[in-house]
Amino acid sequence: MGDRVTTAGQMIRLMLESDAYLAQVFYRLGAWAKHRRIPGIWRLASWAASTVAQVHVGPDVVVGPGWYLAHGQVSLQGPVTLGAGVVMFPWSSVVASAGSPVTIGVDVRVGTGAVIQGPCRVGDHARIGANAVVTGDVANGAKVAGIPARAIGAVATR
């Protein structure tokens, strides 16, 4: 019981204090309602998320648990699957379409202004540099940057 109260308290604090958490809550609410086939909520929640922190998430996107948006300002469209613990910085976007889906692994960091274009698969723990344009697969634990994105190193193993 105490734990739940603490969690709820933290959630309310984050909604007030952080830039993007409120928008993320709206998105999750919309996704939940869509999954439960409750009409109307998805549209309203999407609109709220894009107004509050410019979080634009399309209907075919699957976002894993533990998504962190530094300030909001992201766009994900088409069939995109995000693993757990993905971190996205402002002005990054993921562009996919019916024939060219995007899969992003766990604990991936997408730098500010980066664009990930389908079809591609981004491996676990990968790091994508600022303003990179990813047009092909990224290996597990790789660091990529540039236009088009090329490997510039590997993430230090922990």
């Binding site: 830039d19 922190a53 410019q54 303003n131 940057a145 236009i147």
Partner: protein
């Protein structure tokens, strides 16, 4: 989980953070001075009369710019937020921050010190961390001025710098006065005053 077993949060404590925030806030410009310089640079870049005859004239121009331009109202919200924070008024600053984000997508963090006279042609900027922005700086849309992982110190942007749309300035770099950053550049190194840089990562452009 009891209070005893709860892990201590990393980073500065609440009291330390309050002292730090007070230090930045003492350097925030006054609302009136900031607003008149902002309005002046907006008018100047839009090719309009940029000197104001009286406080009433300034007020009229602020309302006009808020209605006419994409980002001026958001900038006013940011200036209000900074002023309210400097006076340590609770809750209202976060309302102003939300308003700035919703109306002009202007997201400027609490510890950022912005000198009077900031020009945002169309809003859409994210600035956060221990960042200092000099006077008469122009920041285009989709620009991020942010931090490198594990370092709370951000950029020091000199006076008269122009940052092109989509450019990113990351980490504790110094950008000299009147330097220009080309669109979509990624700046991770210092930029000498008056020079032009571009590319990923940004290099000096000669000629």
């Amino acid at each position: 989980m009891s209070a005893r077993t709860r892990p201590r949060p990393v980073g500065p404590t609440k009291a330390e953070r309050r002292v730090l925030m007070r230090q930045f806030r003492s350097r925030f410009p006054s609302f009136r001075r900031a607003l008149s310089s902002d309005a002046s640079i907006y008018c100047e870049r839009r090719g309009e009369r940029s000197t104001f005859r009286s406080p009433v004239d300034l007020g009229v121009q602020v309302v006009r710019l808020s209605l006419r331009t994409d980002s001026f109202f958001a900038l006013v919200c940011y200036r209000l937020k900074a002023t309210l924070q400097a006076h340590e008024i609770p809750l209202l600053p976060s309302v102003m921050h939300r308003l700035a984000m919703a109306t002009g997508q202007v997201c400027i963090g609490d510890p950022v010190v912005v000198a009077p006279g900031l020009y945002l042609p169309s809003g859409c900027v994210v600035i956060d961390g221990l960042v200092e922005i000099g006077p008469r700086v122009e920041v285009g849309p989709w620009v991020t001025i942010g931090l490198k992982e594990g370092n709370v110190h951000g950029a020091r942007v000199g006076s008269g710098v122009r940052i092109g749309s989509g450019a990113k300035v990351i980490g504790p770099v110094t950008i000299g006065a009147n330097a220009q950053i080309r669109p979509n550049a990624v700046v991770v190194k210092d930029v000498t005053a008056g020079r032009v840089v571009g590319g990923v990562p940004a290099e000096e452009i000669v000629g």
